[in-house]
């Protein structure tokens, strides 16, 4: 009986249109993610929750509970129906090929109220995921967009771990492609090459060979 109860608890929900599942490198909450047409994207239902995986680019999904009296049938089109609603289904690997783990994460500085962060481990991959009411996220994005476009802006490449800079391969003004070597960082007995995450022009190089860096220190700014 316990298991049956558990299932009904899980059923009353279904996915609605994921706002940014494709990811375009612009980052969650940046403008350009929603249609520029005068017609505003409709707000998700008040109960929907947005999960944003803080990867580069971010991946997000909105999930909305079924009404409590719903049968929970899939694809009935009652809430956010149609193919959009079914989208995440096809992208799910089988349910048995890994154990998703959800673990609490401590709040970070500047975390807006109503937002919580969890760690999710899927197939051994570890992600930090931001959870918030989808409606609130959409409103915040609209507010940010109306405040003026910020474009993608310069990208700061930070030290992924503490160590020592062995060599710097780029100088300000250099054009780099995705994957261009920026510098090499010695840590844990190994030399690690730091690669450009995106194409652009080097605006600033914040380190020199021999420098000690801490995790998160700015290494290079790509414009």
């Amino acid at each position: 009986m316990e298991r049956h109860e558990a299932r009904t608890a899980m059923e009353p929900m279904k996915p609605v249109e994921p706002p940014g599942a494709q990811g375009d490198g612009a980052g969650a909450g940046t403008p350009g993610r929603f249609p520029e047409s005068p017609a505003r994207a409709p707000l998700p239902s008040p109960e929907a929750i947005r999960a944003t995986v803080e990867t580069e680019p971010p991946v997000s999904t909105d999930l909305e509970p079924y009404p409590p009296d719903s049968t929970g049938a899939v694809g009935d089109g009652a809430v956010g129906g149609g193919e959009e609603a079914a989208r995440p289904v096809g992208e799910r690997p089988g349910a048995d090929d890994g154990d998703p783990l959800v673990l609490p994460l401590p709040a970070v500085a500047g975390q807006p109220p109503g937002v919580e962060r969890v760690e999710v481990v899927v197939d051994g991959w570890r992600f930090e995921v931001r959870l918030e009411p989808a409606r609130r996220a959409v409103l915040r994005e609209r507010a940010r967009r109306s405040a003026g476009p910020s474009a993608s802006g310069p990208r700061v490449v930070r030290a992924p771990l503490p160590g020592r800079i062995v060599r710097v391969f780029v100088a300000p003004g250099d054009e780099v492609e995705t994957g261009t070597r920026l510098c090499s960082l010695e840590a844990m007995k190994m030399e690690n090459e730091i690669l450009a995450p995106a194409p652009g022009t080097i605006e600033r190089v914040g380190v020199e060979a021999g420098a000690r860096v801490e995790q998160g220190d700015d290494l290079v700014v790509i414009g």
Binding site: R7, K14, A48, V53, P68, E91
Partner: protein, 534 residues
Amino acid sequence: MRPQLRRVLVANRGEIALRIIRACRELGLESVAVYSDADRDARHVRAADFAERLGPAPAADSYLRADAVLDAARRAGADAIHPGYGFLSERAPFAAACEAAGIVFVGPAAETLAGLGDKLAARRAARDVGVPIVPGTLEPAPVSSLESAASVLDLADDVGWPLMVKASAGGGGRGMRRVDRREDLAGALIAASREAEAAFGDGAVYLERYVEGARHVEVQLLGDAEGTIVALGERDCSIQRRHQKLVEEAPAPGLDEDARRRIHELGVAVAQAFGLRNAATAEFLLAPDGNVWFLEVNTRLQVEHGVTELVTGVDIVHEQLRIAEGLSLSSVVREAAARAASPRGHAIEVRVSAEDPANAFLPVSGRITRWREPGGPGVRLDAGVEEGSEVATHYDPLLAKLLVVATDRPTALARLRRALAEFEIGGVQTTLPFHRWLAEDPAFAGARLSTSFVAERWEPGPLRGQAARRAALVASTWALAGTSGRRRPDGPAGSAGQASLPTIRKGVGDASEGHAADVWRQEGRREATRPWGQ
């Protein structure tokens, strides 16, 4: 005269320190752990009978300080030091200092360490006893200037392209680089030499042919004070990144009995040239055409010794300690060596390290917030960490070795998949996604192995992208489970009937909610995925 060991200092940390301390306990020996300030509360420290502090966290100030380790041994009254692997394990001066202090060094003699630690000397010695060495040079290349380095080009043409530039004092994948073009050679020689000088205090480098498509196969050797040297079988360690091993197995798949016997004999021949005592490993390249080329000898316990233990039934650390006491090789070892060319059973080890397999296996640091080990038949887990451990950047990122053993390779692979699915780690990214992929990979199942396997086949992008999309669904499902208006599997009764509130559950950070997440996972996972999973 036979030294009776009573108390053994283990001059290492992490999983290998714990593994040796366990062996000491099994043999009735007292153990002494050493620790840096970063490891004060580590598992190996708690496991030992005694513990001595070495110094601050950086390895150079603690585990690499021969004087501090010897002082600790004297303070603790240890009569032997087991160095494990890495750190001081292959340093001849340290072994000599131990002997001078009247403390038994559990490993080969200092002269053997010195002789085999010089890879050029080892290459010359191997050639002299008729062991085929990887084609290359036998003297240090001149590196004083670009011009002198360029003079090596003729030699390089003889060696053949592409080739490897290697440090004579190298190890652990350092001081090694592949050179594909003539014009890059001089620069590579100088850079490798500088790297070797900085890392090992010895800038000698040499050239070796890069053998395309070769496998890394190595032979486990044991020798006693009477001069008996045996091979306990071979291991395949072709699954590497940055010349460092990720996965090892025993026996090496696809070899017939004659091929096994031959490679074992080659390993023993090299060991005999150096009068090997205690444990060592001779490394070879196995070319696609069946040729076997000698690479080098590691004069210590290998990280991957466990797969040999699982197949042979020999406890190599027990044997090391027995040999250090002056005992001759046990009958268990002799019998295992006698049937080493026709092994029964198959063992696989995967190294679970704090590294990002989607980012060139870069080491990562952090705190382990979740650690649940796999178990059950045929599974061995050698771990140095536990839930709550801090993964510091001072040391090797290896967290644990997961080993499986079964009657044959396909069964071992199935067992590996099962054990990997049971392994739960949170807080730091590890190599688990790579291992899960590998365990499903048809080329690995087909034992189509080569040292370039990972570089050629591992494409993490799509796998991680797919996992990220799934993580978003998992997280939102999990969050909604608390607001769905129905009682969650373990939910507080008060949460029922709150259907319409768009609030996210409170208090994810507190302990009770962490527990709730566990229960959700156990009870709710399948159910949660069902609405879209069909």
